[in-house]
């Protein structure tokens, strides 16, 4: 009885465990392609992973062939000599000089055309375009070699990005009409690690897909970049519309070839850096063009705070905005950048600004309107008074381009009209003459005064609170230290400025009362003529009683005589 049970158990084991394995193995053996004898013979050696060849350029060429991959490739039925025509079972050159991998691959790829007719290769436009190029990449760079699959299988087996990368992982390049060469190589590891790493290629390149690859031509790399900037808009519409309001976009519109666009700041879209919590990205991107400002920023309290890991420590974009960057010279918005972090500045400054009997926040604002933050807070800056020409009517700067039209002159003629004696220093009378000239031409102008630092580097060298200037007399006394550098500024349409040296005393001249009527600093913009008038008035005031008393003394005999006469009558 026990024997019967044993037999039944063995039978069941065979039926449920061994039989399926047998059936599967039989099936595999039945469907697996069989390599040719020649191939099996070659693989006898070339299945060794360590088999390599040193090339003339010192590159190491692996001679290993993955047998399994080859068995599963579309070429499995072809013998090795079918492609490697100079090698056969009978003839295997021991020493074959090969210069480089590139040369080896190019030569090996020639074999492809033995079977693949030109018509077949030219079917797809991009394929047709690529194979006619003088420096076309070889077949194996896109399609692979021993593991080559049919296009349909490759298309089906690969994800979208992977499919694109099958060609673009190679050092592909496009030649522009102007002869420039643009790399269209995509580094897969950079792409995967970039902020766009999880996106499929077609998310941005919507005209492309596994089945569609138009052939495009561009005049220049710049044109290509600008057209591709549109791709960013799809996912980043806010940043794009902000960019279109920026000084960078103004430069771009003016045709400046160096005007930055998305990729100029952020780098290639395929290796786009992720935003880092330490904000270094905000520095490194701007430093590409504004490197000269970096050392002054590094000396600032802002950078010290950043290095200390303070969360709110500002980098470039914290003050200047990331995309809607405006010219700091044309607007006061940079102050808003400061106020984004430094709240209640009116109250803070009124702790030491004095305006009895009650110091209102407007008093601090009156200072903020004409003094840049950096003018007091920058370490050892060379402050100056900048008198920028504005239109009273529009409240906007009168640009150099507008002046040329109004005065019907050229830039040299304009300078002659401002600096009439061409000595390089604008005097008060010259300011008045220019103001009058514009008035005659129907433009009521005004020179808006502002105290600022001398250059952009100083503007970034912001010191600590203790280092800020709080000494009133630096500005508020005749001949004040901060009023020794005066400049006349003419704005240009692109945000740049023409800065002309003015005589330090221009603000003390009666000639500038009207042209600079909105800029005043107690003590330092005193009008000299009024000082003289004051002295004359004092002398006159004292002279009246002295003169009158003198006359009364001189005429006292007259009064005595008269008194005596009256007395006689009496």
């Amino acid at each position: 009885m026990d024997d019967i049970k044993k037999k039944i158990l063995i039978s069941l084991f065979i039926v449920f465990m061994i039989f399926p394995i047998y059936v599967y193995a039989a099936k595999v053996v039945a469907t697996k392609p069989v390599l040719s004898d020649e191939a099996q013979m070659c693989l006898g050696c070339h299945s060794n992973k360590d088999m390599t060849k040193a090339l003339e350029n010192k590159e190491i060429l692996s001679l290993y062939v993955d047998g399994d991959a080859f068995v599963n490739s579309i070429h499995n039925a072809i013998s090795c000599a079918g492609c490697h025509m100079d090698i056969s079972m009978q003839n295997h050159p021991q020493v074959k000089k090969i210069k480089s991998k590139k040369e080896y691959i190019a030569n090996a790829s020639k074999a492809c055309t033995m079977c693949h007719a030109d018509d077949q290769l030219r079917k797809k436009p991009i394929h047709s375009f690529l194979i006619t190029k003088a420096k076309a990449i070889s077949c194996v760079e896109c399609h692979g070699s021993h593991s080559i699959k049919g296009i349909a299988a490759q298309r089906a087996g690969l994800g979208e990005t992977q499919y694109c990368l099958s060609c673009h992982k190679s050092r592909l390049s496009m030649t522009m009409k102007n002869g420039e060469s643009l790399s269209v190589f995509v580094d897969e590891s950079s792409l995967r690690n970039s902020a766009h790493g999880k996106l499929e290629c077609t998310k941005c390149h919507s005209n492309f897909s596994k089945t569609q690859h138009p052939v495009r031509a561009f005049n220049s790399k710049r044109e290509y970049t600008l057209i591709n900037t549109e791709l960013c808009k799809k996912c980043h519409p806010d940043a794009s519309s902000q960019y279109e309001k920026s000084i960078h976009y103004d430069l771009f519109k003016s045709g400046n070839p160096k005007a930055p666009n998305c990729t100029d700041c952020h780098g290639n879209a395929h290796s786009l850096a992720r935003t880092k919590p330490d904000k270094t990205i905000g520095l490194t991107l701007c430093n590409k063009c504004h490197r000269e400002l970096n050392s002054s920023y590094e000396a600032s309290i802002h950078n010290k705070a950043r290095l200390q890991g303070k969360k709110d420590a500002p980098v470039c974009s914290s003050c200047h905005n990331a995309h809607n960057i405006e010219s700091t010279k044309m607007t006061t918005k940079i102050k808003e950048g400061c106020f984004k972090c430094h709240k209640d500045m009116g109250k803070v400054h009124n702790k030491w600004l004095k305006n009895p009997p009650i110091t209102l926040s407007t008093f601090a604002t009156a200072h903020f309107d004409v003094v840049s933050c950096a003018a007091c807070h920058s370490i050892e800056a060379k402050r100056g008074i900048y008198l920028t020409l504005y239109s009273r009517k529009t409240g906007e700067p009168v640009t150099e381009e507008e002046l040329l039209k109004i005065l019907e002159t050229d830039p040299v003629g304009l300078m002659k009209k401002i600096d009439s004696n061409a000595d390089g220093i604008i005097k008060a009378r010259e300011i008045w003459d220019f103001f009058s000239l514009l008035y005659k031409k129907g433009v009521t102008s005004i020179f808006m005064g502002k105290m600022d630092v001398g250059n952009a580097a100083e503007a970034h060298m912001i010191g600590g609170k203790a280092e800020a200037t709080k000494d009133c007399v630096k500005c508020h006394q005749p001949g004040a230290e901060f009023f020794q550098n005066v400049f006349v500024v003419i704005q240009k349409a692109d945000g740049k400025r023409t800065i002309l040296n003015a005589k330090p005393g221009v603000l003390n001249s009666v000639y500038t009362i009207l042209p600079v009527s909105k800029f005043y600093a107690l003590g330092s913009t005193n009008i000299k003529l009024f000082d003289i008038l004051f002295i004359i008035a004092l002398i006159g005031g004292i002279a009246v009683p002295i003169g009158h008393i003198s006359l009364r003394i001189i005429t006292s005999p007259l009064r005595s005589l008269r008194r005596m006469g009256k007395g006689g009558k009496k």
């Binding site: 009895p356 001949g479 800029f519 008038l533 004051f534 009683p545």
Partner: protein, 226 residues
């Protein structure tokens, strides 16, 4: 000799506060303007004193204004412009007195009464000062005190530099005026007569003048007092 109650208490208070205030404002104003020439106070102290005093005088101005408006005595400042020729003659006579008559012993043609306090020259100048110059000085002072707070007014007049120009020109005028004013105050029947009257309120006037009214009599009385 009789005493005329010429200066009521509110006006005396207003006057002396104003007088002291003017001197302080002129000194501190000059200090701010000429800190490179003399140094009575630091810049901050000068600004402090100047601003406080300015506001005190602003309030003080309303003592004067309210007193004269509420008592209807403001008319003593109004020249009788409906008699322009007569008024001009009187003014010229007054000028002639200060320029010549006072030298030869003529009597002051004007005799102050509470209803006719000022001679024609005083009337014109004080009217200008009280209703135009001081208010303008106060307003421009306020504009300079906080230009941002009063920016609509500052812009209306063309800019803060214009406000400063007006303020400074008036400062120059008042500086000269206060010297001359002080000297004229000594031209009463005694050197300190007007000044004492400005403290006591009572101006001394001889009764004979009231009775006879003759020029010769008045003259002799005046001379006696000199």
């Amino acid at each position: 000799m009789k005493k005329i109650y010429l200066h009521p208490l509110p006006i005396r208070i207003w006057h002396w506060v104003n007088a002291g205030g003017f001197i302080i404002l002129i000194l501190t104003g000059a200090q701010m303007r000429f800190s490179n020439v003399f140094n009575l106070f630091s810049f901050e102290t000068a600004v402090d004193i100047h601003s406080w005093t300015g506001f005190i005088l602003l309030a003080n101005y309303f003592i004067w204004l309210l007193y004269y408006l509420l008592t209807f005595k403001i008319k003593i400042y109004i020249p009788p412009l409906h008699h322009p020729i007569e008024f001009t003659k009187k003014a010229l006579r007054q000028a002639k007195f200060y320029g010549w008559g006072i030298m030869v012993g003529d009597e002051n043609p004007h005799h102050s009464t509470p209803d006719n306090k000022f001679n024609p020259m005083q009337q014109v100048s004080y009217l200008m000062i009280m209703v135009a110059l001081i208010p303008v000085q106060i307003i421009t002072g306020l504009l300079l005190w906080d230009p941002k707070l009063f920016s609509p007014v500052v812009n209306l007049i063309g800019g803060i530099q214009i406000a400063d120009m007006i303020h400074v020109l008036l400062f120059i005028f008042f500086s000269a005026f206060i010297i001359v004013h002080f000297y004229l105050a000594t031209l009463g029947h005694t050197t300190f007569a007007h000044i004492i009257a400005m403290f006591s309120g009572y101006e001394e006037e001889y009764e004979e003048h009231e009775e006879h009214g003759g020029h010769a009599e008045e003259h002799s009385h005046q001379e006696k007092t000199e």
